[in-house]
Amino acid sequence: MEPTSSHDVPHPGASRRPSPGGRGRGTLQTLRMNGISKGFPGVKALDSVNLDLAAGEVLALVGENGAGKSTLMKILAGIYRQDAGSIEIDGEAVAFRSPRDASRHGIGIIHQELELIDTLDVAANVFLGREHTWGGIARFLDSEKMVAETGRILGRLHSTIAPRAQLRSLSLAQRQLVEIARAISLGARFLIMDEPTSSLTMAETESLFEVIRQLKADGAGIIYISHRLGEVESIADRVAVLRDGRNAGILSREEISHDRMVQLMVGRDLDDFYVASAAAGHEVCHACLELKSFRTRRYPNSEVSITVRRGEILGLAGLIGAGRSELAQAICGVDQPISGTAFIDGQVFAPKSPRDAIDRGIYLIPEDRRRFGLITEMSVRGNVTLPAVSRYTRVGWIRRGMEVTAAARAAEDLRIKVPSIEIAAASLSGGNQQKVVLAKWLALKPKLVVFDEPTRGIDVGAKAEIYRLMRKLATEGVAILMISSDMEEIMGNSDRVAVMHDGRINGVLDRSECTQEAILRLAVA
């Protein structure tokens, strides 16, 4: 299919062109990661992972959210340091102490969140931090030279972006190309692309593939991380699958198929996990929230229609960027849908602000607690009572005693572990912070609670308590919409699972039909 493909190389030293002196330091390089392990407090993110990459090869790296792909790549890019294991380039061990180190060794990373400066032009971005200068120590900018060189690199990528164009005038796809140009100008021979197509249109994706093929032909090795298995099928020479921080398998060009990848990503041992953790059966009554043809700003062309019933936990699965958080925000009045109607208990509901939603008993537990959930410098007491301080007032004057009692009771009910409710929320652990966010709402008679990634960054013990609380709310008749990228969390807690992909609901699974494979299939298709 591609004439330059190096397909199926067991030993990355060998490649499309026979290298003159075996693995000499000629034009061809190989990159090897051996037995890489990395732990974070409470989790083992990577466990003896091996990976190798040859020049002129596209290696796709796939795995579920949390499988360890990003961690592995951050180690390769010098952002993290591994606890164990080694990295070799052309058979020589290298140690990266910083991103700069890694880039000196030819590693370039194209980030998911593009890291460029909006207010500068393309050439300035490409050469940021190592500008060409003239005039000795005066270091005047040599714009001509930078523009010329940028133009040359972009030309090689068959791009028509003007080196002097302001970055903010460029589309997302164009910015990505600028990042690639920047990596090339840094002398990158190994390029890491983290979800490069997550925000691109079909046409843009196709032209990115052209660029990738060009890079390949120029002898660069590319690690391509993606959830979109269709894309992986069409661009990858090999696929490495990670699962739970371990190697789950390597597929050669001929072996690559959608089903094989999903199989390896899920693993057999976890197949029937949900049965084991089946929650207590309970009565499910009428619809609490109903969305009809709901469209959010993020995916203006995709409509969502779902129902969340009283007393159930509806899991909302999908890949990061599928539009789930945006949906949650539109439901809870943080943002407004561009069209469509929401019904609460059969009545039309169109919140203009979070306040409107809160007044109707609809609460959002946001994904990013520190940014949206907490006033971090404020005390636990202040945070817990924030949405309804007026309950603890007499003629507008806060009765400290009433407030303290209420906050202390909430802290006790949720087992928030703090030396005093007067300490700042910032100093709490992730689990306790999340409980503070929950405590804000629980006193207020919720009708619908939307949890967005309820246990991200939380230790196992606190996780279990949050699950228990969630179930308790549901049995009390509250409707719960739980967004999660953690497959076990979805399977272990949901009564039904809706799977979202590119802004639309790809399918709703009942408890009996919901397996990891089924969810994943809907999430990537």
Binding site: S353, R371, V389
Partner: protein, 328 residues
Amino acid sequence: MTRKDLGILILLIVLCAIVALRNPQFLSSANLQNMSRLIGMFGIFSIGVGIVIITGGIDLSVGSLFALLGVLMSVMLTEWRWSAIVVVAAVLLIGGGLGLLHGLLVTRLGLQPFIVTLCGLLLYRGIARYIAQDTTTGFGAEGFAWLRSSATGSLFGIPMPFVLLIAVSLVAGVVLHRSVYGRHLFAVGNNPEAARYSGIHSANVITGAYVISGGLAGLAAILIAFYTNSISPSSHGNFYELYAIAAAVLGGCSLRGGEGSIAGILIGTALLQVLRNLVNLLDIPGSLDFAVMGAVILIGVIADAISRRSSKSPRAAGRDLVKDISGR
């Protein structure tokens, strides 16, 4: 009272002790009366500016507002012969109204507070000079007895402005530290997004702060006008906004927002006035008075940064320092 308030209070006491030892005049009743009169006037508008700073904003317009309101007052009283009570109401309304305008520009149009109030600073000064035709106006030697006495009179030997400051502080203290509005103010200043997610109408809370600042500036404008008794529109109230900002920052308000207290602002105001007084009493050349103030504020801020650095990891302290410097 926070640790920061305590530190600045100690600095204030030490300074007072030094000045009193070097020059006993410091403790004379005339000097104390005069100083507390100034503290009263400066404290009132510093509280307003401090409240705006707690929202994460800034108010640069108050100094020019004093000139504009002073000139208008002179016109209303001496030319139009309005009654004193109407004039007071008008001045407070104009002050609060301009504050409302600032607040709406900041919250509805998303303009930066610095820019909005800087334009206010330029505009109001210019309008004041135009109305007064750049000549000094005043209220004459006689008349407007109770207005005059609110600036120059005393109650049981305590200068009226200081009495008014105490009243304003009590109300502001309750509002800030005990009312729902105050709670929301700190929340919005610390994290406007999280506050919004908690159902707080951040825009209204912030607008309210500018209205309070404008209203308190109106009250201070009356006192300052009758204290000087003449208003030269090009210099009346010059740099006063900076005194207010300095007092608030010295008193523990963070320019990042979300932090501060009325007690701190009061101590900060007092410290600045003691410094001005010290320049007089210790025979330091008057031309140096800004330099002395600048130096003391700088030392205070450095001491605070160092004490925080020692209580945190150096890295975290460094981050904070960078945040402080960059303002957000």
